[in-house]
């Protein structure tokens, strides 16, 4: 089987999976070939941004315990680099990767052959150009004081158009699907691709173009941020989980019939949880209380996804099979993180607990649990499955795959646990009326730096492997087509 493929290698014991469909055939399926261009473009861009983000994360982490580090030039101020790192991570890495992943999933699930896929690539080009220009403005000029809306408002129309070009496909693919059956993943992708542009546009209008009065800006921003985190990043990653888990385990989902309820309740409640992250702020109490109620209601979709995913993993030694499958190892890790992140969201919506940890590293840990330990790990898992199918090649090095998993897993566990523990203890010390200056933990910043370096190592391992494959494959793709 592997003799046909010049790039394939023998399957050794414990070799990471993710080989192309057709067990080693260099041919790439027609559906995959139709979408390969844009998906490879989005993944390659995402990877480059991920490396930039990791380097910046190391610098900002070091700056937290050595404030004088790289402090000679005003463009390296912590406040600027922190904002740039965040935007690179969310708009550069996560969004690029998820647009690509969503495109591939739609094509695969719907057996949908893309025509004019260059439109998606054009959208990707505009997206990345707009991001680069926006980041240059933050570095050299100014920024807005709202997380993920820091970029100057002028880039928003470009982002919006780019997203429409790259992600209008869900609706097209859905409307033209050859089969009448619709998969859960398709609902999630459709929902995520609809919510992001609408919410982004409204937030831009109400916060930056025609700013609303005073603290209403913070309310709109909180609403936008939770929609972005849960309904764009989260829902897109859930779509991938709904695809890969049953596919790779070769089984059906436990309680599949519940997934409709899980989908609708997630979308119904997330829009309201923004104010639960603004407790104690100068917003009216009824708004804050609404947020708390909505956050607690997230238990409903969480229960359903837990039944779907953990029920499936608990059957037929699913956990151990997942552990031995590269894609599922990342996905299962992400699922545990998603469950923990949502549980923390529910529990720490309680006023007394929220008051204790708000403004400390705790909330940063919560966000990292959702956006890295869940979303990014699922993206990694998906990449291990998809890229071989798009390139007809194997992952060049199994060792690098292991290095990638272990360094990222250790880094994110260390970083999240550190944030939660140090955030909690700082909150408790503040509540006991200790002076603020005495409550910071120098160990927290050291741990953060160590984890940032570990992240960088993992991401480098992934990037070397992925770029090795993407560059070796373009020739093999052509050979495959000519054959």
């Amino acid at each position: 089987m592997s003799q046909e493929n010049p790039n394939s290698r023998p399957q050794g014991q414990g070799r990471p999976q993710g080989r192309p469909a057709g067990t080693g055939s260099p041919r790439i399926s027609r559906v995959d070939a139709s979408v390969a261009g844009p998906v490879k473009f989005f993944f390659a861009s995402a990877l480059l941004w991920l490396l930039v983000s990791s380097v910046l994360a190391v610098i900002t982490a070091v700056k937290l315990h050595l404030p004088g580090f790289l402090n000679g030039c005003e463009f390296f101020t912590f406040g600027r680099l922190d904002a740039i790192q965040r935007n690179v991570f969310f708009y550069g890495w996560a969004s690029n990767a998820l647009i690509g992943l969503n495109l591939w999933l739609l094509a695969s699930l719907g057996r949908f052959e893309f025509r004019n896929a260059w439109i998606a690539t054009l959208g990707g080009l505009i997206w990345n150009l707009a991001l680069t220009v926006g980041l240059a403005f933050v570095l050299l000029d100014s920024q807005n004081p709202f997380e993920l809306l820091e970029l100057p408002r002028g880039v928003a129309p470009a982002f919006f158009v780019a997203f429409l070009l790259a992600a209008l496909w869900p609706a097209v693919a859905f409307a033209r699907r050859p089969t009448s059956h619709v998969f859960v993943s398709q609902w999630y992708i459709l929902g995520a691709s609809f919510v992001l542009p609408v919410v982004y546009l409204l937030a831009q209008l109400m916060v930056l173009w025609c700013p609303t009065n005073g603290v209403l800006q913070a309310l709109v921003h909180g609403w936008f941020l939770q929609n972005f985190l849960y309904l764009w990043l989260g829902a897109s990653a859930l779509a991938a989980v709904y695809y890969f888990l049953p596919k790779e385990l070769g089984t059906t989902l436990t309680g599949y019939y519940l997934s409709t309820v899980g989908f609708w309740t997630l979308f119904l409640f997330v829009g309201w949880i923004g104010p639960a992250t603004l407790l104690g702020s100068p917003l009216p109490l009824w708004i804050q209380s609404t947020g708390i109620v909505a956050a607690v209601l997230l238990l409903i979709p969480l229960t359903i996804t837990s039944i779907n995913f953990f029920g499936t993993l608990s059957r037929d030694s699913g956990w151990s099979r997942a552990w031995n499958n590269t894609t599922l190892r990342f996905v299962a890790f992400g699922l545990v993180a998603y469950t923990l992140a949502t549980l923390l969201q529910v529990v720490f919506a309680a006023r007394s607990l929220n008051a204790l940890v708000r403004f400390t590293a705790f909330t940063a840990g919560q966000q990292q649990l959702l956006t890295y330990a869940f979303v990014s790990m699922v993206i990694f898992g998906a990449a291990y499955f998809i890229l071989p199918r798009l390139t007809g090649a194997f992952w060049p090095s199994a060792k690098l795959v292991h290095l990638h998993f272990w360094s990222c897993a250790l880094a994110v566990v260390g970083s999240v646990a550190g944030s939660l523990v140090f955030g909690w203890t700082q909150g408790a010390a503040l509540a006991a009326a200790k002076p603020f200056a005495d409550t910071a933990h120098p160990q927290a910043a050291l741990l953060g730096s160590a984890c940032a370096v570990l992240f960088l190592i993992g991401h480098l391992a992934f990037a070397v492997n992925a770029f090795g494959m993407l560059t070796s494959c373009s020739s093999s793709t052509d050979e495959g087509r000519q054959a």
């Binding site: 209403l216 708004i287 509540a431």
Partner: protein, 183 residues
């Protein structure tokens, strides 16, 4: 769930409902909020900012100070902000009605600044903190906001002066109809 229009309509509703309920509801309550006197006939608060402070706000935003500093004092019972001495009273929505961009912030690596102007003793003290933060502080020195004077000492340059004026203008130490100062 095979109907595209039905799913899109449903998702549209899930976005529209909180938009209407939270954002438009909040807008109905606070959209027209303006300055007000604490007592009838008294001066209007929050006070208008001096022009230099408005320029200083731009420096504050440029440098991303919001990454480490919040500007909101929570009520007693929800955090220890008042016990920490960060405010004389909780922040209320009216305190922010003059701000073109509200930098409430979300993370406190450094202390809250909502009422910093009331506790900073002098321009010189703020300048000293910006040019050479105390040992152990996570804040870097902002050398580019200072230039050497003729006598060799470091003096804040134009941007530095503006930033100091802005920091001094951050005050929530007046009574407002929603939050009276306790005497």
């Amino acid at each position: 769930m095979n109907n595209l229009n039905l799913i899109l309509a449903g998702v549209f509703f899930t976005v529209a409902a909180p938009f209407g309920g939270l954002l438009l509801g909040g807008y109905a309550q606070l959209g027209a909020l303006g300055r007000a006197p604490a007592e009838e006939g008294g001066p209007l608060f929050p006070a208008l900012e001096p022009g230099l402070a408005i320029q200083g706000r731009q420096v504050y935003l440029q440098l991303g100070c919001v990454a480490c500093h919040t500007q909101q004092v929570r009520p007693a019972g929800q955090g220890s902000d008042i016990a920490q001495g960060w405010g004389a009273r909780p922040s209320v929505a009216r305190d922010y009605v003059l701000q073109p961009q509200v930098a409430l912030g979300n993370r406190r690596v450094g202390p809250d600044l909502a009422n910093y102007g009331a506790r900073a003793k002098s321009d010189a003290e703020i300048a000293a903190h910006l040019s050479a933060p105390a040992a152990g502080s996570a804040m870097p020195a902002y050398a580019f906001l200072f230039s050497p004077a003729k006598d060799g000492s470091l003096q804040p340059n134009e941007r530095g002066v503006a930033l100091i004026a802005y920091l001094k203008s951050l005050r929530q130490d007046y009574s407002s109809p929603e939050a009276k100062l306790k005497q």
